[in-house]
């Protein structure tokens, strides 16, 4: 039998890898990919706990996370395409329009 903490540990490590990529990579596409990693870590947590608690709510929530992740990917990538079209770059540290 695998303790639930193993799954949680794996999810924690995966989440932190996602955070790491999100915070350090310059390429916006890879940053979004890192977000996918974090979402997967969350999904893993949900499914594992759902399994061990014998409650399907967690898995249902995973569905919604996947749906939102898909939507986020679609929108996010569309924004990247627009930004690239305007600025000819997808490097996050070269886009400083937020400063206003």
């Amino acid at each position: 039998m695998i303790p639930v903490n193993w799954y949680l540990t794996l999810a924690a490590v995966l989440f932190c890898i996602g955070v790491y990529g999100f915070l350090t990579r310059r390429n916006v596409v890879i940053m979004l990919l890192s977000v996918e990693l974090m979402l997967n870590a969350v999904n893993l947590n949900l499914v594992a706990i759902s399994h061990y608690m014998q409650d399907l709510s967690g898995q249902i929530l995973t569905f919604f996370v996947i749906a939102v992740a898909a939507a986020e990917a679609a929108i996010g990538l569309a924004i990247i395409v627009t930004v690239f079209r305007n600025r000819r770059t997808v490097l996050g540290d070269q886009i400083t329009e937020l400063r206003g």
Partner: protein, 190 residues
């Protein structure tokens, strides 16, 4: 001694961590996407170990099949050759590492101190009896009807939004150069 499930878990875990770590570290974005793709397959394997067959299938179909392909297409926009020569990380990546390590320590502490609450009604046997997909369906279309509908709307919004954002409007200036040209009073050329 490790049992067989434990052995499989350790394999999957190490593979996932390796693949994910590689994915955020490699230079080439295409490789990065492909590594994540491989990671997603392993994640689906973990789901199978957790008796979530349907989710495993969704993981493969939606994530691996749809989302990552979308990523690949976007990555192809970028000039890969130039991209490879550039720096991978931002200048102040040390901050990111520090935050990551702090967060990792906190999350690990949380993971190891985690205690399960009381068990619910959907035992493994109960799920197995009516199959996983059916069980999920019963749960989703009874208790989670409204969130399900909302998720559908969100997806619709994403579809419309993605199309609206990415579409190249011939009649409107969408790039900075075109906008500047418009301001100079020039006709938009092809």
């Amino acid at each position: 001694m490790l049992t067989l499930p434990q052995f499989f878990f350790i394999y999957f875990a190490l593979a996932i961590i390796f693949l994910a770590g590689m994915a955020v570290n490699v230079r080439n974005p295409v490789h990065s996407v492909l590594l994540v793709l491989a990671m997603f397959f392993h994640m689906a394997g973990v789901y199978l170990m957790l008796n979530a067959e349907f989710l495993a299938a969704v993981q493969v179909i939606v994530y691996a099949g749809a989302v990552l392909v979308l990523y690949l297409f976007v990555v192809f926009l970028v000039n890969i050759k130039e991209e490879i020569r550039l720096k991978r990380f931002i200048g102040s990546y040390t901050t990111g590492r520090v935050i990551t390590i702090g967060m990792l320590a906190t999350l690990l502490a949380a993971a190891w101190s985690f205690k399960l609450g009381p068990a619910g009604t959907w035992s493994i046997e109960a799920v197995r009896e009516i199959t996983h997909t059916r069980a999920l369906g019963i749960e989703m279309f009874s208790h989670y009807m409204l969130p399900f509908e909302i998720a559908g709307v969100i997806l619709l919004v994403a579809v419309v939004g993605g199309m609206a954002l990415a579409k190249k409007d011939r009649n409107r200036a969408t790039t900075t150069e075109e906008r500047r040209a418009l301001m100079r009073g020039e006709e938009l050329g092809e």
